[in-house]
């Protein structure tokens, strides 16, 4: 192949935009320095005015949806944010944060490290978009019938947790209790819509088979009911879990490396 002709490398001369465009944020320059912003608008609203008159939850919603939420939407989002504020010290992402903390990793790295691990397909952010699409696509189908169909098609040789559909399954061999409790509260919220209703019915239909909501499915249903696009789901889930991840990481940052277990040699088995 060494003698064959190659295409001479040349630019495609694609029409790239001259400026980066955004619909989100508008910075107005100060009078004497075009690099310094003196006023910032978020989807048209003055940031200073938002600070004075709106809650963090409302501005958070505005940032991603482009409009302020009504009171019911803000209430549902706030409750979800509390529900997701900490994946807990056993979640792999939190454990990554704790390892970074106790390992004396620079504190600026703790959150990026944890959020990378929070991007996983198992109980992590990578589940959210598929779960949102799954729920949105199936709200017209009978949840009990679909659950029955999935259970029937389930392979017998699954090792570990079962994810029977994106956002649903079991956890550590049983029904995950916390998302079940949280779902009961969220579904009573006026802004909970057809995705939460459908998801709850689907989860309950799985209960006889020792499965139900995953936390990821619950987050996906609420995000969908609040009108967030599926592609936003992963990042939103990471954002909402960030406070707990960082809290656990920084808690260990000033402690000695002995503050977390180091598996003893007799419990480390090399199987090659």
């Amino acid at each position: 192949m060494s003698e064959k002709k190659h295409i001479k490398v040349k630019s495609r001369n694609e029409a790239f935009t001259d400026k980066t465009r955004t619909n989100i944020w508008h910075e107005l320059p100060s009078d004497n320095n075009p690099y310094i912003a003196s006023v910032c608008h978020c989807h048209g609203y003055d940031l200073i005015e938002l600070m004075q008159k709106r809650s963090f939850i409302e501005v958070f919603f505005l940032l991603y949806r482009g409009e302020l939420p009504n009171q019911e939407q803000a209430q549902l989002l706030e409750k979800l944010m509390i529900a997701l504020i900490n994946p807990g010290p056993r979640h792999p992402a939190t454990r990554a944060a704790m390892n970074a903390g106790v390992g004396k990793t620079d504190s600026v790295h703790i959150l990026p490290i944890a959020l990378s691990i929070m991007g996983g397909e198992h109980q992590g952010a990578a589940c959210i978009e598929p779960a949102m699409r799954f729920i949105r696509k199936n709200t017209k189908h009978d949840p009990a019938e679909l659950a029955q169909q999935f259970v029937t098609e389930l392979s017998d040789d699954v090792e570990g947790d079962i994810t029977i559909a994106p956002g649903f399954g079991n956890r550590f061999g049983g029904i995950d209790q916390m998302p079940a409790h949280i779902a009961q509260l969220l579904i009573a919220e006026p802004a909970s819509g057809k995705c939460m209703q459908w998801g709850q019915a689907f989860a309950l239909s799985l209960n006889n088979n020792n499965m139900g909501w995953h936390t990821t499915g619950l987050a996906a249903a609420v995000f969908a009911d609040l009108g967030f696009q599926p592609r936003m789901g992963a990042g939103l889930f990471q954002l909402l879990s960030a406070p707990g991840l960082f809290a656990h990481g920084i808690e260990l940052a000033n402690k000695p490396t002995t503050a977390m277990p180091f598996i003893k040699d007799e419990n480390y088995v090399i199987e090659t």
Binding site: N210, N267, Y268, I270
Partner: protein, 276 residues
């Protein structure tokens, strides 16, 4: 539907509490560090190249130095110090923002875990050429392989491993052909097919092979799978990102591709007052 079990089966997790079982190796203090059955200090350090160990850790295979050198050459091909490339741009932004060089470089590496460029498209590239080779063996012509694949993309030559963004042609292919020849590798059936596919695409679309296509075909000839190849190239852009970081970090903060407020084109809602 079956009925709910009386108790949750947690045996899998019970068996994995307070114990780590490794198929890779580990440190036996006072004895040795083992890596896939090798004593690292006695058998690997000073005897094998760094890239051989990278591939060993990624795939479990201790490949020849010849193959590891070939893989190393690909890493050079994919680490350009040009901050216009997306992953490198992130490295430069890290430099201008005075991030740690590790954070900026890793951020660039993560960016290259992209559907459009970097290492992830190797999965699709290898998948294509291995599938095409099976079809060829079964009697499908190269012309039909190309037309079927193009038909999946509205008749356009969007085949992973061919064409490329920004530019036509790929200067890395002749470089890697030279490396392949100098290291004494034969051109195998996947690489031969890749070249034949390229000939059809050049004739019909004026599009050629890109580095993904070359790497996918060559390493398929070495008996590696798509996932193994992806795992071998996860940090392939690292060095270029670092270079761009260092360049930007050596200049005043936030001076890399400086933006005035009006350099951003706001196209959103007009300014408005908050509702009561």
């Amino acid at each position: 539907m079956s009925s709910k079990p009386e108790a949750d089966d947690t045996s899998l997790w019970d068996e994995n509490r307070n114990i780590i079982r490794s198929h890779k190796g580990g440190w036996v203090m006072g004895e040795a560090v083992y890596n896939h059955g090798y004593n690292m200090m006695d058998e690997l350090v000073g005897h094998k190249s760094y890239m051989q160990i990278v591939i060993l850790n990624a795939t479990g295979r201790l490949v020849s130095k010849q193959l590891a050198d070939w893989v190393e050459a690909v890493h050079i091909c994919l680490s350009w110090p040009d901050p216009r490339i997306w992953c490198n741009h992130i490295g430069a932004l890290g430099g201008t923002a005075r991030c740690s060089i590790v954070a900026a470089t890793v951020a660039g590496v993560i960016a290259a875990d992209s559907r459009a460029y970097g290492s992830k498209p190797l999965i699709e590239g290898v998948g294509f050429i291995q599938r095409a080779h099976k079809e060829l063996i079964q009697g499908t012509s190269v012309e039909d392989i190309v037309s079927t694949e193009c038909a999946r993309h509205g008749g356009k030559p969007y085949i992973m491993g061919y064409a490329r963004p920004i530019a036509k042609g790929d200067e890395r292919i002749p470089a890697m052909e030279r490396v392949t020849k100098n290291l004494g590798f034969e051109v195998g059936p996947h690489l031969t097919l890749a070249g034949e596919i390229e000939e059809v695409l050049m004739r019909d679309f004026d599009e050629g092979m890109n580095i993904n296509g070359y790497v996918s075909a060559f390493l398929s000839d070495q008996g590696l799978s798509a996932v193994e190849i992806y795992h071998m190239f996860i940090t392939t852009v690292t060095s270029g990102v670092t270079a761009c970081y260092v360049d930007a970090a050596s200049k005043p903060a936030e001076s890399f591709l400086a933006l005035r407020c009006d350099d951003i084109d706001y196209q959103g809602k007009p300014h408005r007052s908050l509702p009561d």
